[in-house]
């Protein structure tokens, strides 16, 4: 029986590849958005504007304090009630962007705060504007602290894309879910799904470990 199903699985393997492609697409798009948005938010959070800090703080708390699956439901089911109707794919990207940028924001903000006050003072003394101080002096130094956990966060975000399967985006996990109904070999089907995720995540984990080691030396 098992070998029969194995044959079927091989037959529909291209279906898994389309799922993988979708996962890569979602991951790639949302990682770019998360990074840009996260850096902007993080730099704003490190500013001294209390009002900005509070608002971003609340946003981050919401994104980090509630499960991603709940956030997806909110984007997909509630945004339409507020007049923002999204298809599954854009909804997935929006949800990923909201959640991921909050995590990136935290990493960036803590990286910036790791730079000593003297650096700000030195930059200010040479007449740089606040934004220039950040862009030219503070952020370049803090990259050393930011990049290793950022790559680690990318791995987590890539894995989180699996959750968008719940609103019907046919990415890798959804492919497994659909397949297991036709081919009732749960171990085999999801082992295959797992292997495909492993192929994307593991190199990034190794990269993250490597960067961590390199940066701390």
């Amino acid at each position: 029986m098992m070998s029969f199903y194995f044959g079927r699985l091989v037959e529909i393997f291209p279906f898994f590849l389309t799922g993988l492609w979708m996962t890569v697409k979602i991951a790639f798009l949302s990682l770019i958005i998360c990074t840009i948005l996260g850096f902007i938010l993080g730099m704003m959070r490190a500013s001294h504007n209390i009002f900005l800090k509070r608002i971003i703080g609340f946003y981050v708390a919401f994104a980090r304090g509630t499960p991603f699956v709940v956030q997806i439901f909110i984007v997909f089911f509630i945004f339409p009630e507020w007049g923002l109707q999204l298809d599954a794919f854009p909804a997935a990207i929006v949800a990923m962007a909201i959640m991921g940028s909050a995590f990136v924001c935290e990493i960036v903000a803590s990286g910036i705060s790791s730079i000593s006050k003297g650096q700000w003072e030195a930059a200010a003394s040479s007449g740089l504007s606040k934004l220039q101080q950040l862009r030219l002096v503070i952020v370049p130094q803090s990259l050393k602290v930011i990049v290793p956990p950022l790559v680690g966060q990318y791995v987590l975000l890539i894995k989180d894309t699996s959750v968008v399967s719940v609103i019907g985006v046919t990415e890798l996990t959804r492919v497994g879910w659909v397949t297991v109904i036709r081919i009732p070999e749960g171990l085999m089907v999801f082992a295959l799904v797992g292997i495909l995720y492993f192929m994307i995540s593991y190199p990034l984990i190794l990269l993250s470990n490597y960067l961590e080691k390199k940066m701390t030396v």
Binding site: T66, V70, G186, F190
Partner: protein, 222 residues
Amino acid sequence: MLANFNFRIIFEYLPLFLTGLKYTFIIAIVSLALALIVGIIACACRISGIKVLKYPAIAYIEIIRSTPLLVQIYFFYFGLPTLGITVPEIQTGIFALMLNSGAYIAEIIRAGINSVDAGQIEAGHASGLNYIQRMRFIILPQALGVTIPPLLGQAIVLVKDTALLSLISVMELTRSGQTMTSERFMPSEAFLTVAFFYMVIYFCLKPLADWSQKKLIFREAY
């Protein structure tokens, strides 16, 4: 935009939410306790230097960390029955959460142990302490403080992770929101209430994690 927000229906469904909340708590606490045990064992194997223990531990940790939790949950949910094992969904879910968090906890503990200054270990060597004694008297007491903030962080992650069990129809907090949505189609009321409860838990745990982190930094600053 919340003009039509229907509080009455939330009160009507409150018992359901509270049941969900209760199960979220139970699942999170049981999984965390089990994951701690798994994590300690996996970490001990990984740093043991004994090949038959070390490599399986590494494989376990890396596989878990490289695949999504949802896939792991489905793996056991759809997979265990094919092996002839049928257990309630909640047990399958706790099992998956335990294995998942266990791998992360193993790495947290390992990082804590590695953070102990090499000179401390040398001093232990120099006074003739053996491996177990060095672990017990010198390394673990110092590593413990370092591991507490990330362990609390993992606890926060674990609470959120329990939400994925709603997808294998475990009646926890998120599932109660889904149930209400499917019965009344009022997703705003349902999911914002669910989100509210998660936020309450988050705002209880987060200050604790921050506080432990601050205390640690304070101690190191001496």
